[in-house]
């Protein structure tokens, strides 16, 4: 839990530091003030860095205090649920254009429903997967004219 609590302020510190360094390495403008594109992002990065440090101290102060949401995120099958949803999302991203919207959506939605809703409700899962995939394909591709692969 402590690692997650600290990871967010550390992420902000790293993010703002990287942005600050990158701001000063931006190419100079050929028009007008050469440093004009740098000021705004550099200023923001400095302010963000300051707030990130304040936030880190705030988190350090209450490091031992329990956060029920982090607890929930790490307990039971929740980490697997989140991980599985994201992992399947990555796979969906790879197969979406290769095998087409309909097939990839049937696979992704079906897998998600079987994992989240459980195997016991296989009938509901299959019906929802097929009906929703076809309806969404018809609605977007045919009715709304969205070009889906």
């Amino acid at each position: 839990m402590k690692a997650i609590k600290l990871s967010v302020p550390i992420f902000f510190i790293l993010f703002s530091t990287v942005f600050l360094i990158a701001s000063f390495n931006l190419p100079k403008a050929n028009l007008g003030n050469p440093n004009a594109p740098i000021y705004f992002p550099a200023g923001l990065s400095i302010i963000m860095l300051l707030f990130s440090v304040i936030y880190l101290f705030q988190e350090l102060k209450k490091l031992h205090k329990e956060n029920k949401y982090i607890k929930e995120m790490l307990s039971g099958r929740t980490p697997k649920l989140i991980g599985f949803t994201l992992l399947l999302g990555i796979i969906y991203s790879f197969i979406f254009e290769r095998i087409g919207f309909l097939s990839s959506t049937i696979i992704y939605l079906g897998a998600l429903l079987f994992y989240i809703n459980g195997v016991k409700k296989w009938m509901v899962n299959i019906i929802v997967t097929i009906v929703f995939s076809f309806i969404s394909w018809y609605a977007f591709s045919v009715l709304l004219g969205v070009s889906l692969p």
Binding site: A22, A29, L44, M48, E72, F96, G118, S136
Partner: protein, 505 residues
């Protein structure tokens, strides 16, 4: 008010196709808003792709219908399940759920629908009178005033996240920083694009919005999905008794204008409006002890206020092009994508569009009360649909929405990254609205800041050069000091009323 434009707008909004979109948007918004944990911002974000390929007027009408449909829907789950869709529906749980528990679910739903309807109507009338003068006033704004107005909006939205201001600032800074990615429009310099051509136009804020509000919210709701208990409530006849109406009518009429004015203010939205509506009624009620135990006025007041606020929040969006809340920020994103540029010029260049939207709000409220009263059986059945089935569907809709933005699956990865990031922020109790708002207004804020300095040869005096800019600077400082003022008064009231303080804590 320009009568001709008003009539043109009315005729446009009364076109069968637009009425059709109002019905569809109102219904879809109600359904998504009803889902526990999902609010209007998510409803608009998830349903953005539905507007693709549409005529911009129909699209804006549809999106507005989704927005206030979700506001209506949010209170359905508050009353029936004690699970508000979002912050603005929390106050509906205080007396709505106790009413449902007492077997008055039908009455509670009817009071909520009628209160929302009247609150919405009051706000539409306010909108008609306030929108055009405000747009005319905003036409006088120069870059310095615009920059300061955006600064005020962002400061207000951060300051109102009391208790988590540092997090609010961080979210805001993150949004502003991300808005600098891409080609700098004034100098043509590529900033932070890491030689990825896809990033030269910047990070598409709609991907961030859909990621944070749709994927992030679904992931967040997965935390408790296995513990979700669905209570089946008998709804019965959806109407209220004479006595309930007698107790509700004045709170509805009082809370509508309050909600509308709060909605117009930058940063403040439905959550604050509904809370103020509720506490005001409790304070002036002859039976304050009944509040929290199923008092009809305790439900009517916040419902009227939050719906009025949702209409009021459209004023800064349409007249100045500056969204005052997370949901209106999402709407702005979608409107810009559709080629519409909300702002003072909208009323000058496309008055029929602006007035069509305003009139559609009026029609939308009528449609929504019909949906929410006549189709209550269907809505309750939808509410019975397990979230375990609905959330995967929302994930797919988020992917479709993202794909339609650029027809590239590269954005899917960004969607997942921002979805996970949104989950982390929610878990760590970050307010999301400052992030989204800053990301959307960031680019323009920077351009206005630089234009203002350019016009003054680099002198910061430009930000104090007019009455409006000085007023905006003062308001920004006051809004930033608001948490301290709030703390001070809270402390003082504790010292003055130690008994009450101990009770409330």
């Amino acid at each position: 008010m320009d009568g001709g434009s008003f009539v043109d707008g009315l005729m446009l909004s009364l076109q069968p196709i637009n009425i059709f979109w109002i019905i569809i948007g109102g219904f879809l918004g109600t359904v998504v808003g009803m889902l526990p944990g999902l609010g209007p911002a998510t409803a608009v974000a998830v349903l953005i792709p539905v507007t693709f390929g549409m005529d911009p007027v129909s699209a804006i009408i549809l999106m507005a219908a989704i927005y206030y449909g979700a506001m209506y829907g949010g209170s359905r789950s508050s009353i029936l399940l004690n699970t508000p869709g979002d912050g603005s529906a929390i106050a509906a749980t205080f007396d709505g759920y106790p009413m449902a528990k007492k077997g008055q679910a039908g009455e509670a739903l009817a009071i909520s629908a009628v209160a929302s309807f009247i609150g919405g109507l009051i706000a539409v009338v306010g909108f008609i009178f306030l929108a055009e003068p405000l747009a005319t006033f905003a036409l006088k704004f120069g870059p310095a005033e615009y920059f300061l107005l955006m600064l005020l909006t962002l400061s207000a939205i951060v300051a109102l996240s009391i208790g988590k201001m540092v997090k609010g600032f961080l979210a805001m800074m993150m949004g502003l920083t991300l808005s600098t990615v891409g080609i700098d429009t004034q100098t043509g310099v590529y900033r932070f694009t890491m030689d990825i051509p896809h990033l030269s136009e910047g990070i598409d804020f709609l991907i961030v919005i859909i990621g944070v509000y749709a994927i992030g919210e679904v992931l967040y709701n997965l935390l408790t999905i296995d513990r979700e208990k669905k209570e089946k409530k008998k709804v019965g006849r959806v109407w209220f008794t004479k006595e309930q109406w007698k107790r509700s009518k004045w709170p509805i009429l009082r809370s509508g204008p309050i909600g509308f004015l709060i909605g117009v203010l930058p940063g403040a939205g439905g959550s604050i409006a509904s809370m103020i509506g509720y506490t005001t009624e409790k304070q002036i009620s002859k039976k304050p002890e009944e509040f929290g135990k199923g008092a009809p006025e305790g439900l009517a007041a916040p419902e009227s206020a939050n719906n009025a606020a949702s209409v009021g929040a459209m004023i800064p969006l349409l007249t100045m092009g500056i969204p005052g809340s997370g949901t209106t920020a999402v709407m702005l994103g979608a409107l810009v994508m559709l080629g519409l540029r909300p702002g003072p010029l909208l009323f000058e260049q496309q008055p029929e569009t602006a007035w069509a939207l305003i009139n559609s709000m009026f029609i939308g409220n009528i449609v929504l009360i019909i949906i929410n009263i006549m189709l209550v059986g269907l809505l309750v059945k939808i509410l019975d649909t397990p979230s375990k089935v609905l959330y995967p569907i929302i994930v797919i809709l988020a992917f479709i929405g993202t794909y339609t933005l650029s027809y590239s699956t590269i954005d899917f990865f960004l969607l997942l990254i921002f979805g996970f990031f949104g989950l982390l922020l929610k878990v760590m109790d970050f307010p999301l609205a400052p992030l989204v708002l800053a990301l959307i207004v960031g680019a323009e804020m920077e351009q206005n800041f630089r234009k203002a300095l350019l016009s003054s040869n680099g002198s910061f005096d430009i930000f104090f050069s007019s009455g409006v800019s000085i007023a905006l600077v003062i308001l920004t400082i006051v809004s930033l000091l608001y948490p301290l003022i709030f703390k001070f008064f809270k402390k003082r009231s504790r010292v003055n009323n130690p008994d009450q303080a101990s009770k409330s804590s």
